[in-house]
Amino acid sequence: MPATKTAPPAKTAGSSQSPISSLWKAYYDNTSTRLKTIDAFLVYLMLSGIIQFLYCILVTNFPFNAFLAGFASCVGQFVLAASLRAQVNPANRKEFKEVSPERAFAEFALGSIVLHFFVYNFLG
């Protein structure tokens, strides 16, 4: 039986760095600027929502309508931005044949404006 060195040599490309930083490097290199902008927006919205939620639980939920408005602002904007990212991503061209990126962005902008209108109305 020929000794087959079947075990492939371990990939040394990322062995000197941790998996997190290799993940980050792969993400950073392989994602377009546009998508990265959307991702930064999403991260900011998530942080803002978490801060408001913690304030509501830990300190007071006194103007509850204000909490709902602020939290819904973050969550709704997050949902809209996430759907924009899904429609604009070139890897998803097959599912979104009839939606051009420009149309997706226009719908995102319109939805956001309506969301903000409702938010400020409910904020009191």
């Binding site: 994602t31 927006f41 602020g70 903000h116």
Partner: protein
């Protein structure tokens, strides 16, 4: 101007027996028993006329002049000196005398050891009279007069009577006071006096028994009142005298001790002054209420408002016949009431502004219809009552604070989301889509 007024006041005060007017009128009807002679009371009636009263004399059994005609009181004051009359004329009944009080007519009534129609009326005023035929008797101090003629010390400081009067002579019945807050005792019996048959102390055994029974039925001591005032809720005053002789010339001119005249003349004048609404007469001039930084009253107040309530009180000055602002009330209270007083606070006089009493307080946290109630009742003084109804409403929709400080994280969150959205749109539209460089690198190779 003020100095001249002070000078005028002091000159008038020196001759103060003269020219003291009543605040309610000058006409006096005197029901004088036929057995009594007008001349026997000449000093008292003369003093009244000098003060400016118009006296009308009538016997209790005469039909005219009537005290009430067509349901209107014909005189400002009525004096009843009728100790020996068993029955009065038709218009003078206990009911008509009481109705005079509600018509703002003042009464000066004299009792006697005999049973008169007034004896049963006295019990309506919470005065309990001893059995008929038992005048006040005192064997102390040793004196020449019969035991029923008693010198009574006047308290040195008294609200209604001038201070430091010599003792007054008294002869008549004592009254025991019931539990009525409208009674104003003016002269109390001396502690050694008791009510008994005049000639001999036959009733002494009854007294001893009553004293053993811890005071039941005991007509003795200084809890008995000899001259009692009564102020009705209509502020009309009725004074009950234990006997007419208190105001007679005999007692006025009788000497209490060597060379010292009795205090009867001054006492009679003071009692008449209180009864005929000369002294101790107050009134509320006006009542104001407004929010702290405004001057006009509002139709409704909002809860938690700060509101100022002001009242102006005047006292009648009998010498000058006018009402002067009076700041001497130290214990007036204001109640802000809706079924129960929600606020009860003192209404102090304001220094520097005579007659003005004011307080600022916070309207309670309840809405409803409230009343500002000022209810000042003190013995001897006119009753002051005032009630002002004012609605209190909850805040309107635009009277709440616009931005709540507890909600600033949510305001910040919503604004930052909007700002981030605008920034994102700018970045999206400013940049264009750049693919990653790997395809270009492959092509270059």
């Amino acid at each position: 101007m003020r100095f001249l007024r002070q000078l005028l006041l002091s000159v008038l005060a020196l001759a103060s027996l003269a020219l003291a007017r009543s605040s309610t009128g000058d006409s006096v009807l005197i029901l004088l028993d036929p057995s009594l002679k007008k001349e026997d009371f000449s000093v008292f009636f003369g003093d009244l006329e000098k003060k400016g009263y118009q006296l009308t004399f009538r016997s209790p059994k005469d039909a005219t002049p009537e005290i009430i005609k067509d349901d209107v009181s014909q005189f400002a004051h009525v004096v009843v000196f009728a100790p020996n009359t068993k029955s009065f004329a038709a218009d003078v009944t206990p009911q008509s005398l009481v109705s005079l009080l509600s018509k703002n007519t003042n009464l000066l009534l004299a009792l006697s050891p005999k049973q008169t129609p007034l004896s049963s009326l006295a019990s309506e005023f919470s005065l309990i009279l001893p059995p008929p035929g038992t005048p006040l008797v005192s064997h102390f101090p040793k004196r020449d007069t019969p035991p029923t003629v008693i010198p009574v010390d006047v308290p040195a400081t008294h609200d209604i009577i001038s201070p430091n009067l010599p003792p007054v002579w008294f002869s008549g019945v004592p009254q025991a006071l019931g539990n009525n807050p409208m009674l104003v005792p003016i002269l109390k019996a001396p502690p050694q006096a008791f009510a008994s048959d005049a000639d001999s102390d036959k009733g002494a055994d009854a007294l001893v028994e009553a004293a053993d029974k811890s005071g039941e039925g005991l007509w003795a001591g200084s809890s008995l009142s000899l001259v009692t005032g009564f102020q009705a809720l209509s502020n009309a005053r009725a004074t009950w005298l234990g006997g007419v002789e208190l105001f007679s010339d005999d007692f006025i001119n009788k000497e209490i001790s060597k060379g010292v005249k009795s205090g009867n003349r001054r006492f009679a004048s003071d009692v008449a002054a209180w009864t005929f609404q000369e002294s101790h007469v107050l009134r509320i001039d006006s009542v104001e209420h407004h929010r702290v930084n405004e001057t006009l009253p509002r139709e409704t107040y909002t809860i938690n408002d700060r509101v100022t309530y002001t009242t102006y009180i005047s006292k009648y000055n009998p010498e000058l016949d006018l009402w002067e602002p009076y700041s001497g009330i130290k214990d007036m209270q204001l109640e802000f009431t809706m079924l129960d007083p929600h606020i009860r606070t003192s209404l102090p006089p304001i220094a520097g502004e005579p007659g003005k009493y004011s307080v600022t307080f916070r309207v309670p946290d309840r809405h409803g219809v409230f009343k500002f109630v000022n209810d000042y009742k003190r013995k001897g003084w006119t009753y002051l009552t005032s009630s002002t109804v004012v609605p209190v409403v909850p805040p309107r929709h635009d009277e709440y604070p616009r931005f709540l400080s507890a909600a600033w994280p949510y305001y910040a969150g919503a604004f930052s989301t909007s700002a981030a959205f605008v920034l994102f749109v700018t970045l999206w539209l400013a940049g264009d889509d750049r693919e990653p460089k790997k395809s270009k690198g492959a092509k270059a190779e």
